[in-house]
């Protein structure tokens, strides 16, 4: 096997590209909220909506790809078959994936690979979750060998702790201010008002954000995403199959599920420390940059080609980091992009036109798929009330706990 080395992007051509050979034939969601019902129900509603959107019946699906939830017992660990059974056994092949926040993209990648390999024409990807209130806590029981348990025990390092470390560093290195972070929230709240699937659909002012309680300094309650119930589904098909049924389908141009390269020099949830860079030089691109780079490389497009992006705004400040990680600007320039209105609806490259996690709250296995749903609607011109004009290329990006990259580039 040939080993791919440099990540510099320009020369290292991928050995195979799936660009444009798989279509997004249908998308569907169950609204986000705190509904207190089974995740299976949310997934079912989303799956049926996606099938209707694709103009297909459930028996047409040949491969079911589930994004797992680890908070709902055994049915959650085998989400693919759980959804298949809920829809009614019809003999489809199945896979279930878990990669934390990146699970949706991993499940999408598994389905796409089946289609690219010619093993099937139509695949259904589903993710749904029911989440508890408050902080996402580690699963219960004494587990002193599990870093996710130990970080709570020894440090009290909650998820917002890590987001806050990035935010504070951004302030000290790049001069970001509390007001900058608040403005991200204000922008996303405005975007999400028109999204029928968003949980929070209310305008928020900068003053309200800055008056909300500090959770993990400098981040405030209104700047940290909540946890939500929700479900999202995507129907993928081969391009030939899609062309027999529709004109100008949205296509998957690139899909990245990369892991970090050693040494990973950014402190990441749930770790106690970074890798040491004393014996091996750090990679040219830090992990978060490399996630989008891989997808750009496959898609043959760059940040300058994007019409919009859906980025994982676990915190308001983290959205600014993502601008730089996906190449919308150089490090330290994200605040300027925000101030110039470039990333607001009507701007050069709107970010999170859906309202983002800020308006949704996180439903872990559904979230990366929800990003794909939004970009699909945008590219089709169906994002009513939040439409990016003449959208042609859209990117979704996210990062899952324990080294899971997730990036999908769609084109029309």
């Amino acid at each position: 096997m040939e080993v791919e080395t440099a990540v510099s992007g320009t020369e290292a051509a991928p050995q195979a590209s799936g660009r444009g050979r798989v279509a997004v034939l249908g998308v569907g969601m169950h609204p986000w909220g705190k509904w207190g019902r089974s995740f299976v129900e949310y997934g079912l509603v989303a799956a049926r909506a996606a099938l209707d959107d694709a103009g297909l019946d459930w028996p047409d699906v040949q491969f079911v790809s589930g994004a797992d939830t680890v908070r709902n017992g055994y049915p959650g660990y085998v989400a693919g078959s759980t959804f298949a059974q809920a829809l009614g056994w019809q003999g489809a092949q199945v896979a279930s994936s878990y990669s934390a926040c990146a699970s949706g993209a991993t499940a999408l990648g598994a389905a796409r690979a089946q289609i690219l390999a010619g093993l099937c024409d139509v695949a259904l990807v589903v993710g749904a979750d029911t989440t508890p209130r408050g902080f996402l806590a580690p699963t219960s029981g004494d587990r002193p060998d599990d870093p996710d348990w130990l970080r709570f025990r020894l440090l009290g390092a909650t998820n917002p702790t890590y987001f806050a470390l990035y935010a504070r560093r951004r302030m000290e290195l790049h001069g970001a201010t509390d007001a900058d972070f608040a403005r991200v929230k204000v922008k996303n709240a405005r975007h999400g008002m028109a999204n029928p699937y968003a949980r929070y659909r209310k305008e928020v002012t900068e003053e309200e954000v800055l008056a909300s309680p500090l959770v993990a300094d400098p981040l405030r309650l209104l700047e940290i995403c909540a946890t939500s119930d929700g479900g999202a589904a995507v129907v993928l098909s081969s391009l030939e199959f899609a062309r027999r049924r529709t004109t100008g389908p949205v296509r998957v141009a690139g899909l990245s599920t990369v892991t970090p390269r050693f040494p990973n020099t950014v402190i990441e949830m749930p770790n106690f420390a970074t890798d040491s860079a004393a014996t091996v030089a750090p990679p040219e691109s830090p992990f978060r940059d490399s996630i989008a780079e891989k997808a750009y490389q496959e898609a043959g497009v760059g940040p300058e080609d994007l019409s919009l992006a859906e980025v994982y705004d676990l915190s308001s400040a983290l959205e600014l980091d993502w601008y730089e990680n996906i190449g919308l600007c150089k490090p330290g320039e994200a605040e300027r992009l925000l101030h110039d209105g470039d990333t607001a609806l009507g701007g050069r490259v709107p970010v999170n036109p859906s309202g983002g996690l800020s308006c949704f709250g996180e439903a872990v296995p559904a979230q990366a798929l929800a990003q794909v749903c939004e970009v699909t609607w945008q590219l089709r011109g169906q994002a009513q009330g939040r439409q990016v004009q003449d959208a042609k290329v859209g990117l979704t990006v996210n990062q899952g706990l324990f080294g899971h990259g997730s990036c999908v580039i769609l084109e029309r």
Binding site: D142, F152, R153, L165, E172, D217, P263, A273, T274, T279
Partner: protein, 139 residues
């Protein structure tokens, strides 16, 4: 007086004056890991699997920091009443790595780049023991 015991076994020395975090070093390529690498060296270019103990530098510079204003869920043991606490990410020059730890001291004057030193401090107490953990103290 209650006995002082480490809140986790083998992650740091119990030397009250000059404590060290304990990582390990791959004897093949020299890479240091904290917490210690268990099964094999994680340098992808190395097939090593033998390690020696590696006490980490006791001083470093703040990479970033944050104060938590809400009590985390268990297994964190929160005081009553809950007191906000600060977590610092500290860069060790020699190891070229960043290590987290709670801050032992006043966070208001903390800045990125500030020098800190490793100390042992109480994480929580029960009837018999003071459970001790490493913390970073501003210099």
């Amino acid at each position: 007086m209650k006995a002082r015991v480490p809140a986790v076994e083998g992650w740091f020395t119990m030397d009250e004056d000059q404590p060290h975090l304990l990582g390990n070093r791959c004897v093949t390529c020299g890479t240091v890991f904290f917490p210690r690498a268990e099964t094999a060296c994680r340098n992808p270019g190395c097939r090593g699997g033998d390690f020696e103990e590696a006490p980490l530098s006791r001083r470093g510079r703040v990479w970033s920091y944050t104060t938590n204003h809400y009590a985390p869920p268990p297994p964190f043991v929160a005081g009553d009443p809950f007191q906000p606490y600060t977590i610092a990410a500290v860069e060790l020059a020699e190891e070229k790595m960043v290590v987290l730890g709670q801050l032992d001291g006043d966070p208001t004057r903390l800045r990125v780049g500030a020098e800190v030193e490793l100390v042992l401090a109480t994480l929580f107490e029960d009837d018999e023991h003071e459970h001790v953990v490493w913390k970073w103290r501003p210099l």
